[in-house]
Symmetry: C2
Amino acid sequence: MSNSIEIPFSTTLMVRDTCLCLHVQRAARALARLFDDALRPAGLTNGQFSLMMSLNRPEPPPMGPVAALLAMDQTTLTAALKPLQRKGWVTVMENPRDRRGRLLSLTPEGKAALARALPIWESTHAMIDGKLPEGGAARLRQDLQALS
Amino acid sequence: MSNSIEIPFSTTLMVRDTCLCLHVQRAARALARLFDDALRPAGLTNGQFSLMMSLNRPEPPPMGPVAALLAMDQTTLTAALKPLQRKGWVTVMENPRDRRGRLLSLTPEGKAALARALPIWESTHAMIDGKLPEGGAARLRQDLQALS
DNA sequence: ACTAAATAGATTGATATCAATAGAAATGAG
DNA sequence: CTCATTTCTATTGATATCAATCTATTTAGT
């Protein structure tokens, strides 16, 4: 019965072709590379662009909601802020109303960097949008949201 | 004109709501956590499951095609193999036909671990599949593939 | 007011990710 | 056959990701 622990090759092919987790991870890696390459001249990565864009609000948000918006662990956000703080693009200050919390905000230099990156995002996004069928982007966003 | 570098809040909202890269990264993180939690009793992560499943073939593949299949950098694959080698689940041997290359294969223990993880994958995948509308999974896979 | 529980982040340790680079081996041009 | 080029993989350094754990602070129950 030593073969009882063997998974048939056909099962492997089925999992590879159908696994939504794998498909999403692959697309995530491919898109990350694409945007990272495009945004490199602006000095930021796709994740840094998304994070900084989420900080461009009238009122500095605390960390929790930002982590939730990006669907990332709070400890990941803490780490992701470090290089942006070093670059002087983001400031992390204690919340005077709740001294446990932090308030995140963009510096003027951070806003300028984000403004330089925006046209790159626009052209890159338009390019990948064109790879999907008509209305595919909205549909894809909806499907992805259903998984989060 | 110091305000010329400011991005309007409305633009931020637009980017957050439409950016396909962000949507995919968020779904990737959420799905990774979901599968990691489910697969933890089996002792492997979603990425390790996908990698090991892709190695379950009649003939041990070299690294290049495996990295391409998973849409990951080759150096990422090199790193990802390390913990699996330490666990004794994967072997990396020199390719006798091309001594630059390596051939990847599962050990019997690796196959057993993969077989234990398979039912977990099945139930988890069925659960998220149910969160999508009828035919949504196939459509989603197609859309994601168009981006890779 | 006091104390227990809940909440917000930070730190540590392990793995994941990729760019840049380097090494070794195979391939091709002559 | 020789050498330049190409191909395959490893290493290093930086960032990303999360689990487990910790501290500080706030909140709630009494």
